[in-house]
């Protein structure tokens, strides 16, 4: 059982009109790992997240999650199975308070609002947004909104979290707290796939990286291997990281 990967993406292709955002992408994610999904702007990372989370149907390929074929499952059903995601451009329920935003997520596993509200507060404390619980979600600054994204996703008690650039806009020391947070998430047994462009943050955190370029998998390996890969340097990292 533990042998099977949690997520298996096989030959996924997604086109937008003439543009192929994901071309024949395959990857597997083992239980409990933190996978970094990196690649140039427009490489198709967010598109792949959308495909996994079920935001739109894919054109070819299949996706298996935790023993189920979820290729044609609608988004809420995937959430119920244990896939949670954040949006790169934060989305919030602006007519609700911060805690109620999270509560919506918590309702996935708890039918009672009272219990869900408790869980929501706990999650907010966990991500460090506890003090803003009663604020209106519309008032949050962008970094706070990203935290809210995480809280909401966590509240669904997922097996897999898809984190799309949740740590942009943080100061280096704040980012370090973020890294801690994600580690704690993983320690709860949640598998994480994260997209992030700040190498100083990602590289120490992830177990493995997959690099996309122009919709295809360009490279795959440990952070060390990736940083040293000349193709990755040429396409993505640029010369400054050659040294790293």
């Amino acid at each position: 059982m533990t042998e099977t990967p949690l997520l298996e993406v096989s030959n996924v292709t997604k086109r937008f009109g003439g543009l192929t955002a994901n071309a024949d992408v395959s990857l597997t994610v083992a239980r409990g790992e933190i996978l970094g999904l990196i690649g140039p702007n427009g490489a198709g990372k967010s598109t792949l997240f959308n495909a996994i989370a079920g935001a739109f149907p894919i054109d070819a390929g299949s996706i298996r999650f935790d023993g189920h074929d979820i290729t044609s499952l609608p988004c809420p059903a995937r959430c119920a199975l244990g896939i949670a995601r954040t949006f790169q451009v934060p989305r919030s329920f602006d007519s609700m308070s911060v805690v109620e935003n999270v509560l919506v997520g918590a309702l996935t596993r708890r039918p009672k609002t009272r219990a869900a509200r408790h869980a929501a507060h706990e999650v907010l404390d966990f991500v460090g947004l506890g003090s803003r619980a009663e604020a209106s979600a519309g008032e949050l600054t962008p970094p706070e909104k990203r935290r809210l994204e995480m809280a909401r996703a966590l509240a669904t008690e997922p097996k897999l979290m898809l984190l799309d650039e949740v740590m942009t806009g943080l100061t280096p020391s704040e980012a370090r707290e973020g890294v801690e947070l994600i580690r704690r998430v993983r320690d709860q047994g949640i598998t994480v796939i994260m997209v992030e462009h700040v190498m100083e943050i990602v590289m120490p955190l992830i177990d493995r990286a997959v690099v996309l370029e122009l919709g295809r998998v360009l490279a795959e390996g440990t952070p060390k291997e990736i940083v040293a890969d000349p193709r990755v340097i040429a396409a993505y990292l640029g010369d400054r990281h050659r040294a790293a």
Binding site: N41, G42, P143, G169, P172, S173, Y236, G238
Partner: protein, 235 residues
Amino acid sequence: MLLEVDHLTTAYGGLVAVADVSIGVAEGEIVVVAGANGAGKSTLLKSISGLERPRGGTITFAGERIDRLAGHLITSRGLAYVPENKRLFPRLTVRDNLRLGSWLHRREPDREAPLETVFRLFPRLAERLDQRAATLSGGEQQMLAIGRALMSRPRLLMLDEPSQGIMPKLVDEIFAAVKVIRDSGVTVLLVEQRLMESLEIADRAYVLQTGRVVLDGPARQIMDDPEVRRVYLGM
């Protein structure tokens, strides 16, 4: 000073986000504003650009009080602003977003001249001209937002975390570009979390903390400030 912000205070309801802040930017400078999350950096820029109404203080641009001016008039004085959340026109194409960038120069024959610079900085945009802005990837949107601001040929360009969501390879290019832009005669006011990179190209810097300026000085000096290194970089 091209831009002078004097004792500026801005609040959201009861929450004072910028408290009694004074900064100045001289013609041809690159000035960095740094600070932790929620320090009030974005609010400062929003106040200058007219997106938020300041509660007190004055803002002077090229000798003219602008703190009472409507947003579009501030832009027309030569002050361009790229907000943190970009504020593109999502359903318009990349081409139209850029074209509207040059709205102020719409009657001039060479209105599209900055386009060359934009495409040189961000060739990706040239490939995506007919795509709607909403469907661009996060990084592409950031490029478009900067491109749109450049199209208005500003005297002062205010960038709120331009490197956000940009791939590493491009981040360096963006900082390089900021320098190029300044060298072409545009003054730059920059809010950045990549403190070291930005200080490298900057002339001066201000550090905000909970809405107040706690430190300011030449970029080098800030870079070497032990307090900054400790609090900000955790070194």
